[in-house]
Subunit: 215 residues, 2 copies
């Protein structure tokens, strides 16, 4: 069997998602660090693997996969147990919708390259960057808290009593929030689920500080 190799960065929340999913599924893997602030994701050897020049990319089963959620879906299809999506189509749609609210409505607007861009383009200082970050978190966390609190499908985790793709996306976002002092008081359900996740080794071991390239 070929080696499973994750090209990532300790602080990248998209890499963090893939680390959680690999851990939950019990897949052994090695890591190759691509330091984002040094631009290592744009090195020619990496661009040859992944033209987008973004982390993560995963070498697995002789394939090179990119885009964190496409990687998680691949792992789910090729290693179905333990499942990261519910069995029923409506439940799967709900877990995916929560995952996408986090991964499409918050993270893309708040990732490093956009924050660097608003500094350069609009002269945003550190305070303005933090306000921007918090604004996009709050815009989605409010409705997400409402949803998780009111829907009966919510359990110990975002959907039921086992972690799903939704939790895989939730935890890295909550981690990012800490770096920008997002007040979690208005989001007790999200905070509770985050805590439940972090009690599992699969999540705890995937945390940025525990990675070989952590600074």
């Amino acid at each position: 069997m070929s080696k499973t190799l994750l090209h990532g960065y300790f602080r990248s929340s998209a890499s963090f998602r893939v680390r959680i999913a690999l851990n939950l599924k019990g897949i052994a893997y090695e890591q190759a660090s691509r330091h984002l602030r040094k631009g290592e994701q744009r090195a020619p050897d990496f661009l040859a693997l992944n033209a987008e020049g973004l982390v993560p990319a995963l070498e697995i089963d002789g394939n090179v996969l990119n885009q964190s959620l496409a990687i998680v879906e691949y792992l789910e299809e090729t290693r179905p147990a333990p499942a990261l999506l519910p069995k029923d189509a409506a439940g799967r749609a709900r877990a995916r919708a929560i995952a996408y609210a986090l991964s499409m409505e918050i993270h893309p607007i708040n990732n490093l390259r956009v924050l660097q861009d608003i500094e350069k383009r609009f002269g945003a200082d550190q305070k303005a960057v933090a306000e921007w970050f918090r604004h996009w978190v709050v815009t989605t966390f409010g409705p997400l808290e409402t949803r998780l609190a009111r829907e009966k499908e919510t359990g110990n985790f975002c959907h039921g009593d086992a972690p799903t793709l939704a939790d895989v996306c939730l935890v890295p976002q909550v981690f990012n929030n800490m770096r920008f002092d997002v007040d979690m008081t208005p989001y007790p359900t999200i905070a509770r689920i985050h805590k439940a996740c972090m009690e599992l080794p699969a999540f705890a071991d995937a945390a940025p500080a525990r990675q070989p390239d952590a600074e």
Copy 2:
């Protein structure tokens, strides 16, 4: 069988994606327009259905689904033919990765609420907004063109010779680009695939100008 009802907006590219998928799968549906510039997506009756207050939402099979890509995956799971994802796991990962490059790296940063926000927050004028829009398109379209041009899996469409989730995301982005005068000359493969899609009634009929709420 209960009525299938799409809550959307003619110009919303996430709604456009769902219209294409419904058409490709031959699912009859009605539309309820939620005018984004008038804030109709934040009306109490809609928030009761979809706490996020974003279009699209789809009422189908007694469920209310949200997040365009979660809806498309649901349609794929419940109405597998014609397939919108390849059969093999690696192919599915590739189609999803292309879809996510479009729907996670470009669209969230360029959607209406972010454009309105940079106007208000940073005083961006119409020219600056257009530059912002084009910057995020070019950042992803360059690598995407490289990928589509160099990988043998690319066919008449993004993946093979039938439309997939990748094309469902590609066409609305190219439509949006036209509104901001993105030069498509550097992207001949993308332009070719867009043209092939628009020759299919499923795509053409989903276009913004053909919707009942078009202005």
